[in-house]
């Protein structure tokens, strides 16, 4: 049996900080480069969001087994309201098809998951509300900023009521196992007073599911499209939809999870690379070969309704696994009923992410300036919140967007790499200069 495909696209734009000067501190509480942000938004809208959405709408209408998922950050949605109602409308048209799932994330696309639990809860809750308000959909699957994930985050998401979450299929955790089926985090309980009390405050009335399933990004196949599609030195170049589908079917498993930035289409990979034609031809081939593209929720529904036992090319391995899990259940005198399937454990003790080859937090929390910036920012949390000044809270939150810290990354600075490509500033030091001025101003507003 063919695996399913799970397509999820990340849609996000940060608010870039303007060329603040020390003389602005205490004088100017507008930190962001209005003109630049509008410019970038419109450029990406024309190159990516609008044409890609138009294409998706067409494909969703044409192919009944084609479904997709998006995660739209709160700051992206705000930029839509400011710079692009047309973009927002085109997303609404997509969700109106009923074949598009929207995921939950932190409203400000922040690193709060690894910095502050109360702030993290508040931002996820804010985001869910915003999505429901605009699209009338209640997110059931959580994806954290840049796929940052560890066991703790998985359980916090479970306690928030999510049945599934996404993560990078990091090799060092999979240890040779397939990324193509759902996993569970190791079972443990987070101390009630530190976690449940905080979480339930922001998610009132939620009854956490017993387990949360983790869908892992198949990074090889995802990155073939997102990063390598137009790379002439790559052996797979030029990639066509047939070949790519062959790779998918031979990869096997329950679902091939293709997670990537939406800007892949038209912005990272320009239209003249043929990326839109590639995208257009995929669902047709999938339809012919009986491969379905499902949303994360549908993938989990299928999984839970027993599709997992029917997997063709892995049935032997599966049998061994179920015997092992049966034995382990006997051993543990499992609390679960016999009919319940025990997924493999994906044990991310330390945080992982989808960034760089390290797939850890070093893109945002790797050097002195990043650590200092994050620390200084979150040190203000209590004071900012105690001020009761909504504008102040908002400014503080807008500074939490992960991109600010990404731009400060010096990992490969001298090699002229991807960070440089994505940065609107001259250098990581320039990113820090602007950020530190904004933070100084924020502090001055507190006193």
């Amino acid at each position: 049996m063919n695996p399913n495909i799970c397509l999820y696209f990340q849609v996000h734009q940060p608010y870039r900080i303007k060329d603040l000067r020390i003389t602005n501190i205490g004088q100017d509480s507008k930190y962001f480069d209005e003109q630049k942000n509008r410019e970038v938004f419109r450029k990406v809208a024309e190159k990516c969001y609008l044409p890609a959405n138009a294409l998706m709408l067409e494909l969703l209408g044409k192919y009944p087994d084609f479904h997709i998922a998006y995660s739209l950050s709160g700051v992206f949605l705000e930029q839509c309201e400011e710079y692009g109602e047309d973009v927002l409308e085109s997303f609404k048209k997509l969700t109106d098809t009923g074949k598009v799932e929207l995921l939950a994330e932190t409203y400000y696309h922040s690193l709060s998951a690894v910095q502050s639990l109360p702030e993290f809860c508040e931002q996820v809750s804010l985001h869910c509300k915003k999505i429901e308000e605009i699209f009338g959909q209640k997110p059931r699957i959580f994806r954290n900023t840049e796929l940052i994930f560890n066991n703790e985050i998985a359980h916090i998401a479970r306690m928030m009521g999510f049945r599934g979450t996404l993560a990078e299929g990091a090799d060092h955790i999979l240890q040779g196992r397939t990324p193509n089926e759902p996993y569970v985090p190791p079972e443990f309980y987070l101390p009630k007073e530190h976690y449940w009390d905080v979480i339930s405050k922001h998610f009132p009335g939620v009854i956490p599911p017993k387990k949360i399933l983790v869908l892992l990004k198949n990074y090889k196949l995802s990155d073939d499209v997102a990063f390598r599609f137009s790379d002439k030195s790559w052996v797979g170049f030029p990639l066509n939809a047939e070949t790519f589908t062959d790779w998918i079917t031979s990869s096997g498993g329950h679902s091939i999870n293709l997670f990537m930035d939406y800007e892949t289409f038209g912005e990272h990979q320009w239209e003249d690379t043929g990326i839109f034609d590639f995208l257009r031809s995929l669902p047709e081939i999938w339809q012919k070969r009986g491969i379905r593209a499902l949303t994360p929720s549908q993938i989990l529904d299928e999984w839970e309704h027993g599709a997992r036992s029917e997997k063709g090319n892995e049935h032997l391995q599966k049998e061994v696994k179920s015997i092992l899990s049966l034995l382990s259940k006997l051993w543990k005198k499992s609390k679960q009923s016999d009919s319940e399937y025990q997924e493999e454990t994906f044990d991310a003790h330390l945080p992982i992410s989808w960034a760089d080859t390290e797939r850890d937090l070093s893109a945002w929390k790797g050097n002195d300036i990043q650590h200092a910036a994050l620390q200084d920012l979150y040190d203000l949390e209590e004071l900012v919140k105690a001020s009761g000044d909504e504008e102040l809270v908002r400014s503080w939150r807008l500074l939490q967007t992960s991109d600010h810290f990404y731009y400060m990354c010096t990992k490969y600075w001298n090699d002229g790499d991807v960070h440089k490509y994505f940065s609107p500033y001259d250098s990581p030091y320039e990113a820090y200069r602007r950020f530190s001025h904004a933070l100084c101003d924020l502090r001055s507003r507190l006193s």
């Binding site: 000067r21 020390i22 300036i369 910036a373 010096t410 001298n414 001259d426 030091y429 820090y432 530190s436």
Partner: protein
């Protein structure tokens, strides 16, 4: 190879770069015969130095009014600061000196069997061209600084033409940066295919940390911002003062040290008073290498606001001492130094803001400091000379 200045007899970056390249080439197995107007060069390994014999030397020992670095007007001021024994390399009549050097050069190299001829800056181009003709071998013209850099695009026409003539005669030009390459293409009309960029390497060898002297003018914990370079238009000392004034308005405790000598000293002293900086600027005069090291180590920030800087070795010296640097975008060195702020030379307000941020934010200063050593590790003369060697090979074959 035809050089003009060479340590210990040198006034600027040309001599230092020349020595670095020669050493690097020898490490790459290239045999170098260096032709110099002055016999007192530091000899390394099996390098051979040829300089005019006493008979020829007599002819070259003309004292001159022109120098490759300064306008004629600045000559007098500059010469006051130059040790007497060094004055003869830029004599009173540079044109005549070059003429004599050139005439002697072919004569001197007649018995050498070079595969490639390599000459440095316009003073040696004619010697290079004549020798290349004599030996019927390819010529490499190395450009360390153009007349346009030195004069902020108001060149001495004669020198400008000598430079262009040299570029056109050469089989290959080596520019010390893309910045310089662009000047050659857009102002001298040279085809970009004829120009290879080989950035200068790092000459500084990591000695033990210099003793941290505490001079009388510095009290503890007073932030200090440093300028070090010849006091000429090209190096942007006036921009440094403008920046200092901006900083002073916000942080009156900051001290500024201007180290170096040159024709603009008087004007700069006047300007610093006009800007109300008399209590905060120290003119340190010309400093020795050792003193320079100490100044770098003491400075909280080094600023190189050059108006047009083909390379800017001084920035590497600052980085060597772990000093955070702010570099003019109009410089070659900014192409190879990642951990730095890079600002247009005219944007003194931004320059000031960068300095103020470095002074306020310890993590930023630490970050810049901690990364600087990587720059120097990558930028060795041995590595840069390897690029020159492969260029020689291309020319020979």
């Amino acid at each position: 190879m035809f050089g003009w200045e060479y340590p210990p007899m040198h006034l600027g970056g040309l001599g230092v770069a020349c020595q670095g390249l020669v050493r690097g080439l020898m490490k790459n197995g290239v045999k170098v015969t260096l032709v110099l107007p002055n016999p007192d060069a530091e000899i390394d390994g099996d390098m051979e130095v040829i300089s005019p014999n006493s008979e020829m030397l007599k002819n070259i020992h003309v004292t001159s009014a022109l120098s490759p670095y300064d306008s004629a007007q600045a000559y007098y001021e500059k010469m006051k600061g130059v040790p007497r024994e060094q004055q003869n390399i830029y004599g009173e009549d540079l044109g005549q000196a070059i003429e004599n050097y050139t005439a002697a050069s072919v004569e001197m190299t007649k018995n050498v069997r070079p595969d490639v001829l390599h000459c440095h800056d316009w003073m040696t181009y004619e010697a290079g061209v004549r020798a290349a003709n004599y030996h019927q071998k390819p010529l490499v013209a190395h450009i360390h600084a153009t007349e346009l850099d030195r004069t902020h695009f108001n060149p001495n026409k004669w020198i400008f033409e000598r430079e262009r003539w040299g570029f056109e005669k050469a089989d290959k030009i080596i520019a010390v940066s893309n910045y310089t390459k662009n000047i050659l293409v857009s102002h001298y009309g040279i085809s970009p295919e004829n120009i290879s960029v080989v950035h200068n390497g790092n000459n500084v060898t990591r000695d033990k940390q210099p003793d941290n002297i505490q001079s009388e003018y510095r009290t503890d914990h007073t932030p200090m911002v440093l300028f070090l370079g010849r006091l000429t238009l090209q190096k942007g000392p006036n921009q440094f003062l403008e920046m200092a004034a901006e900083i002073h308005r916000i942080r009156p405790d900051v001290q500024f040290v201007i180290a170096g000598d040159g024709g603009m000293l008087g004007e700069l002293i006047e300007n610093s008073v006009k800007l109300g900086l008399q209590g905060n600027v120290i003119f340190a005069g010309r400093v020795s290498n050792k003193e320079a090291q100490k100044l770098f180590a003491q400075a909280d920030c080094f600023v190189m606001p050059s108006l047009s800087e083909p390379f800017g070795l001084v920035a590497l010296e600052a980085i060597e001492q772990g000093t955070p640097v702010i570099l003019s975008k109009q410089s070659g060195v900014s192409e190879v130094v990642g951990p730095a702020f890079k600002v247009d030379f005219w944007d003194t307000a931004k320059m000031a803001d960068c300095v103020l941020t470095v002074l306020r934010e310890a993590p930023l200063a630490n970050q810049l400091r901690s990364e600087s050593s990587h720059v120097l590790q990558k930028l060795t003369w041995e590595h840069q000379a390897m690029n020159v060697r492969s260029l020689y090979h291309e020319l020979i074959n």
